[in-house]
């Protein structure tokens, strides 16, 4: 299989889908400027630059999606989505329901986020959970080049609005990517490493951090399973529960802050559906409740690191929780 970077994999998926389906088009701030190859192949009508105005970019996508096109919009950096919240949340997310199913909104909104480029808090804000909380939207945040391609294909073909987040730190990471069809269904997590003692659930760049931690833990005789969620909505609840029933211990890792985040949802799911499986408390390792800093060392401190994950896993494995009185555990 050829090696492609994440950015190349996304570009390949978009080009292939535009070739398959003449209703697919892409627009955004600098989209045509940055993709002369798409303009050359598909023409200026299907590959467009837009004004710096996220509200109308997203609204135009929603209006076009409701009336027969399948737009992809590049909104650049996730914090810019704040200017497009009405169009994404109130229009694209709700109008199918509010119309009693008369309209659908097949569109993809792309945005970059995540630490690694020291771009600071108005370009880096992991706000994916906001959209998980909004009905009618699907949310994707992959970790490998092959998944970026396959999930982009799935997102473009889906009949619903899909928020597609690109972790900045992964943009130039190479990996094997299938040529042609690489479809990865929305809503399916992937087991990246099998294990039996503890489950590490993550998505985006921290999946790789979890794999690093699992390697270290293996050297210490702790067998960690790494589950890559890939899609945050719909969430692959069966995959999470299957793993926790097997290991009995759960660490959820993401760069977004903890309050009401995806980790909280995963922890609540496990508490409700797999409480009896738990041998130790659920741990979340997340970014802090603070805007993302620019200074490199501060930004690195913001991002969950492998040693924090290994330390948490060690603590959980050391806990022996027979059902007993409070305070006696560990």
């Amino acid at each position: 299989m050829p090696l492609l970077t994440v950015n190349e994999a996304i570009g390949q998926a978009i080009a292939e889908e535009m070739r398959r389906d003449s209703r697919v088009l892409i627009f955004g701030e600098g989209t045509a400027t940055k993709h002369p190859e798409l303009v050359a192949e598909f023409g200026a009508a299907r590959v467009r630059n837009t004004p710096l105005a996220e509200g109308i970019i997203a609204g135009t996508a929603a209006g076009a999606a409701a009336t027969g096109l399948r737009p992809i919009v590049d909104l650049l950096f996730a914090p810019f989505l704040c200017f497009a919240m009405d169009e994404l949340v109130n229009s694209a997310g709700k109008l199918r329901y509010m119309s009693g199913g008369q309209f659908s909104f097949p569109m993809v909104a792309l945005a970059m986020t995540g630490g690694g480029w020291t771009v600071g808090a108005q370009h880096n804000h992991n706000l994916e959970a906001w959209f998980v909380h909004s009905p009618g939207l699907k949310v994707v945040m992959p970790s490998t080049p092959a998944d970026f391609k396959g999930l982009m294909q799935a997102a473009i073909r889906d009949e619903n609005p899909v928020l597609f987040f690109v972790d900045l730190a992964l943009a130039f990471v190479p990996g094997e990517v299938p040529e042609g069809e690489a479809f990865v269904p929305l809503g399916q997590a992937a087991v990246r490493r099998e294990g039996s003692d503890v489950t590490l659930v993550s998505y985006a760049k921290t999946v790789h951090t979890c794999l690093q931690a699992a390697e270290t833990l293996a050297e210490e005789g702790v067998s960690a399973e790494v589950l890559d969620l890939r899609t945050l909505k719909p969430l692959d609840t069966a995959a999470i529960l299957r793993s926790v029933w097997k290991t009995g211990r759960l660490v959820v890792v993401h760069e977004a802050s903890a309050p009401c985040g995806v980790g909280a949802e995963v922890a609540a799911l496990v508490a409700a559906e797999a409480f009896a499986a738990l041998k130790a408390p659920v741990v979340r390792i997340t970014g802090p409740d603070a805007p993302a800093p620019s200074s490199y060392p501060l930004e690195q401190a913001f991002i969950p690191q492998a040693d924090a994950i290994t330390a948490a896993a060690r603590r959980l494995v050391a806990v022996d929780l027979p059902v007993s009185a409070p305070g006696s555990a560990g």
Binding site: T50, T60, G63, T67, S91, R96, Y97, E159
Partner: protein, 320 residues
């Protein structure tokens, strides 16, 4: 309802206005009779709705706002299904999931009633982009008020429609009131139309309480958008004769202002004009008014007798 026999446009326009007024009066009557869902009525604005919508073709699409009954009815919407929607019944256009504020009717080309002020402006460009890219000569009519013209998305929408050459007929129904605030408190100048020039968009202001003048201006504007594939802004100066919503409250409005605008009521003006011209006899008029009332009595009976949605509908239609 679409007329069953051809009518001269001026009589058709009156008939459509009478139906809209009868619909709004039925809503008011429901409110006077007891608790009823909140509704933003368009009493006093019927000429703008009937005049513009009557100038559209079947291939055209409409996006509108929370004061949308006139646009829907002028387009031929069934008042029974509209009332059913307001009352949360399964027979409504949106299965009772929209309520009065968000009725859309795909079969009529009414894509959206936005209650987010300005939401219609954000989607209109996309609907027009579809019209351009999927072929045909259809255009998109986008109805909004002077309040929405104070939202940032108004400017974003006009700018993009102009830069991308999108066939949007922007229709500003300047009804003087932005919810509970007179436009004099929120904007300088009396009109929205001059703003279009900044985006290279042609604009015309018309007396929005003169249905024939609106129809004539809209016909010209629709033809222009259809042939040039460029946006156009038509501002209809009109007046919201009732409070922001039912149940009605206008305690914050100068009674002299209301009286002055009631004297320019669009329906009274059109009746007088047709009677004066001899285009209509008092008997014709009485017949038209009786038909509108009967249509709404039937509509109310249909809606009231319609069932509520099954609880299982709660989570259907969320995802495609």
């Amino acid at each position: 309802m679409p007329p069953t026999r051809p009518l001269p446009p001026s009589r058709l326009l009156l008939e459509r206005m009478l139906l809209i007024r009868a619909y709004e009066e039925k809503i008011i009557a429901f409110h006077e009779a007891g608790p009823f869902p909140h509704v933003c009525t368009s009493v006093g604005q019927e000429a703008a709705a009937a005049g513009v919508v009557s100038a559209l073709g079947p291939q055209d699409q409409i996006l509108t706002n929370h004061r949308s009954a006139g646009h829907l009815l002028a387009r031929g919407a069934d008042p029974g299904r509209m009332l059913a929607e307001v009352m949360g019944r399964i027979t409504g256009y949106c299965k009772g999931k929209s309520g009065t504020l968000h009725i859309s009717a795909r079969e009529l080309g009414v894509i959206l009633t936005s209650t987010i002020v300005g939401g219609e402006l954000s989607l209109a460009t996309g609907a027009a982009l579809s019209r351009e890219m999927l072929g045909g000569d259809g255009i998109v009519a986008c109805f909004f008020g002077d309040g929405a013209a104070c939202e940032g998305i108004f400017h974003e929408s006009l700018n993009l429609a102009s830069v991308w050459n999108l066939p949007v007929l922007y229709v500003c129904e300047n009804n003087q009131w932005q919810a509970f605030v007179h436009r004099k408190e929120t904007m300088l100048g009396d009109h929205i139309a001059p703003r279009a020039a900044a985006y290279g968009i042609e604009a015309v202001t018309v007396d929005g309480n003169d249905v024939e003048a609106v129809f004539e201006a809209a016909t010209a504007a629709v033809a222009k958008v259809r042939s040039t594939r460029r946006p156009f802004l038509l501002e209809a100066t009109t007046y919201r004769q009732r409070g922001h919503m039912e149940p009605h409250d206008q305690s914050y409005v100068d009674p002299a202002e209301i009286a002055a605008w009631r004297a320019k009521d669009p329906i009274d003006r059109q009746k007088a004009r047709l009677l004066d011209r001899g285009d209509l006899t008092p008997d014709d008029l009485a017949g038209m008014e009786a038909r509108a009332r009967t249509a709404l009595d039937d509509a109310a009976a249909f809606a009231s007798a319609s069932p509520f949605p099954d609880p299982a509908e709660l989570t259907t239609d969320v995802y495609a």
